[in-house]
């Protein structure tokens, strides 16, 4: 038995491992407590809630304890087993097995006794298969779920495994190789760091267990602080529309640039969790925000990424051309940056499914590469060794460098993330139209002087590079402070406390985007559950009452289904609509309306009885002599094509006297988005007209959604008009009056042009057209919408809509209830 265990789990380290002393046992439990506190703080302070990692604490913390008590040779297996448990918990049995299989297969191929070239060919074939599944050339739902995760784990690690294999450096220990792929932080953070294979496999047991855990805890604490800092900056971030002068431009650029805190924080957390299991990984970052030159910035900003590029691009290129060219250094550096662009795009492709092709993406890397090349000289002194007896002017020089580097990086960052070069130029021009520069210059001057002094003090006191050494007492102190902070009352009116303690609310800029794209938040529910570790409850529960179909409806309600979502309930009737029961045959005396709408009319976020359709129906029946039935055929995300399909396949069977069609702001843009989803999902477009549009626009299923949208945009007016015409035609053929009602969204600043976008095609299609004007009576969006990140109307919002809707229907001049 022992022999079998020894064979299965061979020794990894040569040093003898003694029994743990009482002090060490106590330290392990204290470490487990500290680790649990990290998870607790993440949950309590709403740090990266979408990652779902705090839900895995109940597996990770006990696994950490087991790992800490076990001998080093068992630790990689325990680490890999933790991953497996987390996979099954997060994905279920079937998808879990598929994901594990998708990771084991390439590992088995890599370690198999076949020639290296053959392995490379096999890996390329394997990635080609993943590519087919990722772009959904072949759509298999379960694979669509697991491929982003498998690819995010394999995309760089397979390259590194093959690289080391080429030079005979692959570790023979199976469990170490497995642990290299089976890394649980990857399940929560798809943009997990590219940690080096050799650094990983050689790191275990390299130093004392407690020393390694102290480092892990320090990384985790730094990760928490960075992410909380990002929360704070994000809560006060500027919108692009607020840029009016140099000060607002500066704050806009700065708040955007501070996304690096989020990236750094999540990578710190990932590395912290891995290190906690005994893998003594190097620090992923230096204090790059204090880098005095671009080359120093590049050295510190993402050390793992830089190591990866050096290994697979820079050194191989340099050594192959150094005897042929005097510019070998510059050529290899330039190629390293070019590949940095390529690998970033490659990474984004596997995670998002679309290849980013904006020119500013490529230009960003070229400009950064040029800046690094210009400042990277062999004569540059080793800055971090430059302690002790240094003159003050060096600190002044360093502060000037820091200011220049960070200002440039903030501008470059915006250039990288902007929609295009024209947007970048527009915003920069708006900000640089110098009106009042003095507050900005004073602030910059103050920062510069403070930094010079700080640098001087830090150098004198030798407190540099805080990321490299562990400080267990300081870690404990920070955890204690954060715990105290987490129990504070956020409702004191203190903006700082609210920003830190409450869930992140959308920034001004993102709120604008959310208002524009609130439909997408529903439509992209599929993406949500594909890409987050735990399905958000709302979408999870929606799946219980809805049926996804690969036809023009895409989504419909199940019959007689009930689901509680957060604090409201959705109940459907025997017709499969969110409404009360009606008789199939319409009673003679009844005026029956078929209401075709989207998430607003469906009542996303409120109970059945609070949906404005339901309130209006009740009010009409109370106040009018004639009974009225409003059958609600609405569904979140529906566009006029869905409404047409719902009318023809379902609503018409219930013999309505009138059809009320609802439209909202930004109808065309979201229409484009949903039509693109038809193409991506390979839906049969059914109607000749739609098939012709597909052919004329040249859209294909394998194209990115962005490309499809772009190609469809010129045709979208035609599609909208066609949909309205078909609805109108169907209604006329059945003697039904069809009306289109424009309902503004809760945060609309209504303009005539937005209404015209819908009114013109509707009237041309012979639909009656009404606008529910001033429906919200000037009440602010936050009081009548579900929440800061969900602009759907709340109970009060629905009450207001119901009132306006009732008035519209009850007004005899409108003749909406006339047969």
């Amino acid at each position: 038995m022992i022999a079998l265990v020894n064979r299965l789990f061979p020794e990894i380290i040569t040093e003898p491992e003694g029994e743990q002393s009482k002090r060490e046992v106590l330290l392990i439990f204290l470490s487990a407590l500290a680790l649990y506190c990290v998870f607790f703080l993440m949950k309590k302070l709403h740090i990266e809630p979408a990652s779902g990692i705090s839900e895995l604490a109940y597996f990770i913390v006990p696994a950490f304890v087991i790992s800490s008590f076990s001998r080093v040779r068992f630790r990689p297996a325990i680490y890999a087993a933790t991953f497996v448990i987390c996979v099954f918990y997060s994905f279920g049995w079937v998808s879990g097995f598929l994901l594990i299989g998708a990771l084991i297969l390439p590992l088995v191929l890599v370690v198999s006794p076949t020639p290296w070239n053959f392995k490379v060919a096999l890996m390329l074939t394997y990635f080609a298969l993943l590519f087919v599944l990722r772009v959904e050339l072949v759509y298999v739902p379960r694979f669509a779920l697991i491929v982003p995760f498998a690819a995010s784990i394999l995309m760089f690690r397979i390259i590194l495994l093959l690289y080391e294999l080429r030079f005979g450096k692959l570790n023979p220990n199976f469990w170490l190789n497995l642990a290299y792929l089976f890394s649980f932080p990857n399940l929560s953070f798809l943009f997990a760091p590219v940690f080096d294979y050799l650094s990983f496999t050689k790191s275990i047991g390299a130093r004392g267990r407690q020393h390694i855990f102290n480092r892990a805890l320090w990384f985790l604490v730094l990760g928490l602080i960075l992410l909380l800092s990002y929360k704070l900056v994000y809560a006060h971030s500027f919108s692009v529309h607020e840029v009016k002068n140099i000060s607002t431009l500066f704050f806009f650029l700065f708040s955007g640039y501070m996304t690096v805190l989020k990236v750094t924080g999540t990578i710190m957390l990932s590395v912290g969790f891995i290190t906690a299991f005994g893998f003594n990984l190097p620090a992923p970052f230096g204090n790059f925000l204090l880098a005095p030159s671009f080359s120093e910035y590049w050295r510190r900003v993402n050390i793992y990424w830089r190591m990866f590029l050096m290994k697979v691009v820079y050194y191989p290129v340099y050594f192959s051309i150094r005897k042929k060219s005097n510019y070998a250094f510059l050529i290899s550096l330039f190629l390293a940056f070019l590949f940095s662009w390529f690998f970033h795009a490659y990474q984004r492709f596997w995670i998002s499914g679309a290849w980013p092709h904006a020119i500013n993406d490529l230009l960003f890397w070229i400009i950064l590469g040029a800046l690094v090349s210009l400042t990277a000289t062999p004569s540059e002194p080793a800055y971090i060794s430059d302690f002790g007896n240094v003159p003050f002017w060096k600190s002044v020089k360093m502060a000037a460098g820091v200011v220049i580097v960070n200002l440039t990086m903030a501008i470059l960052w915006f250039f990288w993330k902007s929609e295009g070069i024209s947007e970048f130029m527009y915003v920069m021009n708006s900000g640089l139209s110098l009106q009042s520069t003095s507050p900005f210059l004073y602030a910059l001057g103050l920062f510069f002087i403070s930094l010079s002094l700080l640098d001087f003090v830090v150098r004198k006191s030798k407190l540099s590079n805080i990321f490299t050494e562990p400080y267990p007492v300081l870690s404990g102190l920070f955890i204690g402070l954060l715990l105290i902070l987490s129990f504070q009352n956020p409702a004191t009116g203190n903006r700082f406390l609210a920003a830190v303690l409450l869930p992140t609310t959308l920034s001004a800029q993102d709120r604008e985007r959310a208002d524009q794209g609130y439909y997408e938040s529903i439509l992209n529910a599929g993406n949500h559950w594909e890409l987050s570790i735990k399905t958000p409850r709302r979408f999870d529960a929606l799946d219980k009452v809805t049926i996804r179909t690969n036809d023009l409806l895409s989504l419909r309600f199940a019959q007689n289904a009930v689901a509680s979502i957060n604090d409201y309930t959705i109940a459907t009737n025997s017709f499969g609509i969110r409404d009360k029961e009606y008789s199939f045959e319409k009673p003679d005396s009844v005026f029956r309306i078929a209401l075709l709408g989207t998430s607003y009319e469906m009542g996303a976020g409120v109970n059945n009885k609070d949906v404005f359709e339901s309130i209006t129906e009740e009010k009409l029946n109370k106040n009018l002599k004639r009974p009225v039935e409003i059958l609600n055929f609405s569904m979140g995300g529906y566009t006029p094509v869905h409404q047409l399909e719902m009318l023809r396949t379902k609503a018409i069977q219930y013999q309505p006297d009138a059809v009320l069609l609802f439209a909202h702001t930004d109808e065309l843009r979201r229409f484009t988005g949903f039509f693109a989803r038809y193409i991506k999902n390979g839906v049969d477009l059914k109607y000749e007209f739609l098939k012709e549009i597909k052919q004329k626009s040249g859209v294909k299923q394998h194209q990115s959604e962005m490309e499809i949208k772009k190609r469809l945009t010129p045709y979208i007016h035609e599609i909208l008009y066609w949909s309205y015409s078909e609805i109108s035609k169907t209604c006329k053929q059945n003697g039904i009056r069809a009306t289109l009602i424009f309902l503004p969204t809760t945060s609309d600043i209504l303009s005539e042009s937005k209404i015209e976008e819908v009114r013109i095609p509707a009237e041309k299609a012979d639909l009656d057209f009404f606008v529910l004007e001033n429906v919200y009576r000037g009440i602010s969006a936050e009081k009548i919408s579900i929440g800061p990140s969900d602009p759907h109307p709340n109970k009060q919002g629905h009450f207001l809509i119901a009132d306006a809707f009732y008035k519209l229907l009850a007004n005899p001049e409108n003749k909406l209830l006339d047969k």
């Binding site: 690289y163 080429r166 030079f167 050799l198 650094s199 050689k202 190097p282 230096g286 080359s295 050295r299 510190r300 050390i303 050096m310 290994k311 820079y314 050194y315 191989p316 340099y318 050594f319 192959s320 250094f329 990277a376 000289t377 062999p378 540059e380 002194p381 080793a382 971090i384 060794s385 430059d386 302690f387 490299t468």
Partner: protein, 85 residues
């Protein structure tokens, strides 16, 4: 070349090109150089070229790694290994 002599050459090179002659008191043959980012890529490549020319050896790209360069002792041993026929 003897091991001690070679180690002294490596130390001297690092003292001149990494520390610019202001060598910290605690610098010794086991001070990590790559993992602490004291040795950047340019200095590393220059150092490799210097010792290639001095010892008549040739490095390959995959040999430029922490495991061969991290300390004076490790680098010296690696150079000696490369010098063996």
């Amino acid at each position: 070349m003897e091991k001690e002599q070679l180690a002294a050459e490596v130390k001297l090179y690092i003292a001149l090109h990494v520390f610019h002659n202001r060598v910290p008191a605690d610098f010794d043959e086991d001070t990590p150089l790559v993992s602490t980012r004291l040795l950047d890529s340019i200095v590393t490549l220059n150092m490799i070229t210097h010792f290639e020319n001095m010892l008549g050896i040739e490095f390959r790209a995959h040999e430029v790694s922490v495991e061969n360069l991290d300390t004076v002792r490790i680098f010296t041993n690696f150079l000696l290994q490369k010098m063996q026929p």
